[in-house]
Structure formats: C-alpha cells, structure tokens
Symmetry: C2
Subunit: 251 residues, 2 copies
C-alpha cells in the first residue's frame, strides 16, 4: 500500500498551507513536504487547527530530493483546453483513476501541487511520471489549493466506512414469512398474495435494512397482530384464536 506525500511547490499564502495540513490529517495523511514555501506564521497555525503536528513536521525539500525518495511522482494541473495536446500536460488522469493506478505501489507516492496563481512550471511538470487533473467546471476551474489537496487526500485515503450490520438473508426471509402470515391475518385476497409478497421483497431488499430496522418492522407487525387478536376474533382454526376474544382492558 503506498504512502501519500503531499508536496506544495512554492505556496504563496500561509493560510492555505495550514488548511492543507488540516485536511491531510482529516484523511489520515501526515507527510507534508514544502519546496520554497512562504513564511509560515500565525495564520498557518490558525488554519491548521488540530493538525499542528502535520504543519510542524513539514519538511523543507527540493524537487530533486522528492524525486529521489519517491516510488511515483504525480503532478497536478488545472484543466487544459482540449486543443492543448502537449506531452507536458497530456495524457492526464482524474483523482479516482489515480487511486486505482497507485493502489499497488509500495513506497512513497508524492503528489505535487503548484503555486496558487500559476500552478506548476512546465519543467516541474516534466519531472513527474503521472499528470493528475481534478475535473472542474469550465466556468470557474480554479480550485482553492486546500480544496484540491483535500480531494486528492480523500481519494487516496484508505478509510473504510464504519461498519453496521445489515439484516442477514435468513433474517430477511423470516421477515417475508412474517409478512405472509400477517397478510393472512388481515384477510388479504389469496389471488393477490404472490404479487404483493414479491413487491414487498423488492422494496425491502432494495432498502437493505439493518438488523435493527428489520427487527422494528417485525415488532410493528407483531403489535398489530396482537391488537387484532383482541378486537376481532380469529378464525376457529387459527392457533392463536383462543385469546382473540379477551377484551383489551381485562388482560
């Protein structure tokens, strides 16, 4: 699994460097390297918020050093006109493609981000093996530096959604069976039964309920059945029919 290193080349605004440190840490990345950065003072620290450690541990490096220590070097650029087909900027890949491309890399993947006003120079771009461009609107393609870093950090994070347990196939079948018994109880017409059960199966499968959600639906059916027992006697051949005549207030 690769380790991401964010490399800011000549960042001009210290607040952006602080914001970059914060969003890196939000996605579990800590390696920040700075090539010829602006002075970092109070505003950088303020924007880094609880990522002071990332900011303080940021290394001052040269591009040569970054190349020497990286398994893969990626350069980021803004969108270019389709007519531009210079090998300096083409072909390029989206962050989600990058995620796939570096998935099996062992070692450091360094991603270079350029100056806020002019990006990376052509000679800097030429040193990277892969060009990455975040797809943006042609109406306003200029992303704030920390937003660009944030999206790359998000795509290259190896964070899983917290787990929650979905109802198992067994639990879902038990729910459909309960629904079938419930339809009996409310005198649902037999010739419509199959299609209604199929429809319920489709809706509930698609919703992918958690164990708790499935259990709550069971509970609602059960509660309704119990009330029906008390108010309307069941058929004589219903196993639960004996309790059906007990008035509600007496139990």
């Amino acid at each position: 699994m690769p380790e991401l290193q964010v490399v800011l080349v000549n960042p001009l605004y210290e607040g952006n460097v602080g914001s970059v440190a914060r969003v890196m840490k939000n996605f579990g990345h800590t390696r920040l390297a700075l090539v010829d950065p602006c002075p970092l003072r109070n505003e950088a620290r303020a924007m880094a918020s609880h990522a002071q450690d990332v900011l303080e541990n940021a290394r001052r490096v040269t591009l040569d050093e970054v190349l020497a220590e990286s398994a893969v070097v990626v350069a980021t650029t803004g969108e270019v006109a389709r007519s531009v087909c210079s090998p300096t900027r083409m072909p390029y890949f989206e962050p989600r493609e990058l995620r796939e491309m570096v998935a099996d890399v062992e070692g450091t993947v360094s991603v270079l981000f350029g100056r806020e006003n002019s990006g990376l120079l052509n000679e800097e771009l030429a040193r990277a093996g892969i060009i990455c461009t975040i797809p943006t609107s042609p109406v306003y393609p200029i992303l704030n530096l920390s937003h660009a870093v944030g999206i790359v950090c998000y795509e290259l994070a190896h964070l899983q959604r917290g787990e929650y347990a979905l109802a198992s196939p067994f639990e879902m079948e038990s729910l459909y069976a309960h629904l079938d018994r419930f339809l009996d109880r409310v005198d649902h017409p037999p010739h419509k039964r199959a299609i209604t059960l199929l429809l319920a199966r489709r809706v509930l499968s698609r919703a992918m309920p958690t164990i708790r959600e499935a259990s709550t639906i069971h509970g609602l059916l059960r509660r309704t059945e119990q009330l029906l027992e008390r108010s309307i006697p069941a058929d004589e051949d219903d196993a639960n029919g004996l309790d059906g005549t007990v008035p509600r207030g007496i139990e």
Copy 2:
C-alpha cells in the same frame, strides 16, 4: 439527472459560506440555500472569489421549504462511534455511494450541512431520507465545512475528464510490427524474438499511449533505422540496402 442543492443549516462563519460558494461553482453547482445563516459581509465575498453570483443568489429558506421542494433530502454527519446504532444516524453512506444512489433521481437532491461546531441536530437529521458521512481519520475527524461540501460537490458533479485520443488498436499493431522489423535490423536473436515482442506489447499496452506518443516512438525507431542504414550496410537481401553505403556527410 438530479440537480444538487447545497443547504447550509445555521452556518456560523461567513468565510466558510464564501468558500462553499466557490467550491460549488468549481464543480458546476450553483444552487445554495441557507437556513438561519450568520450575517454575510466582506469576508464571505472575499472567500467566494469568482463565485459572487452563487453567494448573491443564495436563498434564505426554512427546512420545511427545503423538504417541500426536494426529491431527495440527504443529511451529512461526522463519523460516529461503531457502538452508536441509533436510527437517527444509521445506516449511513459515503459520498461515492451517494453518487450511485441519486444518479437516476429526477429533480432536486438537497444535501444538508450542519453548524461548524455541532453539526445537525437530531431533529434535523430525522427529516432526511439518507444519511451521508465522509470517511475520516479517527485521529482528527472534523472537516472544515467547505472541505466537506467540496467533496460532496466533487462526487456529485457530472464532469468528464477532457478527452484525448489514445492510439487505436490498429496503430498499436503497426507499432508492434515496426518494432519487429527494428529487431531484425539490430540482429536481435530469433530465438528470443517472440518473448521480447510479447514483453514490448505488455509494456506499451499498459501505458495506453496517445496517438502522439505512439507516433513519437515510431519516429524514434525510424530515425535509428536511418542512421543504421548510413553507418552499417544492411544485408544484401535488404530492400533498403542500396542506400546503406552512403556516408552520412554526403547526402
């Protein structure tokens, strides 16, 4: 195709509202709605940069109005502990799952983002159909508001990477055939030929060269062949052999 509406519920810092407007416009979204926002003055305008239109057109709304006008309402929350399994916050989905879930929705998909300090209230969460959580590091899970909005806007953007033409299968076969002739020319041993050509095919296929890149490789082979013609006469049966003896300086 759904239209995204970003809804900020009670945002506390005007700078964040401006940054949100900017990153929305970067990804081609323009519908911003504000529920009980802080006053928006110079800092909001400064951070919006070239998205003044998105900021100025932001509507002041109530949550009731948002619900009435939306096909789907999504609420965003920070990561919760795994033990928490309240139906208010579970099950939840990542932005990339959300992208799939709303892909076929016609109408407005409103995504609610809560206060910078405390997020959305439980009663606000309860009004949304879908809960969305951006996976973050447990070490520092609190994203800046505009970073969170930026990632959702990125995932829900319908922006394609600019196109560039890859070399066609026909062009690639022509390149492999050229390479085969070139190996002849440099007396590559016949018993190693098949494996070397296979290896070249594997490397070049994987690199997915553009038309220009394939053409440059052709050109390099051709240039080398021409120099070889001039310095080393080809075999007698080589069709190009007649030019092989012309010394370089005379041509």
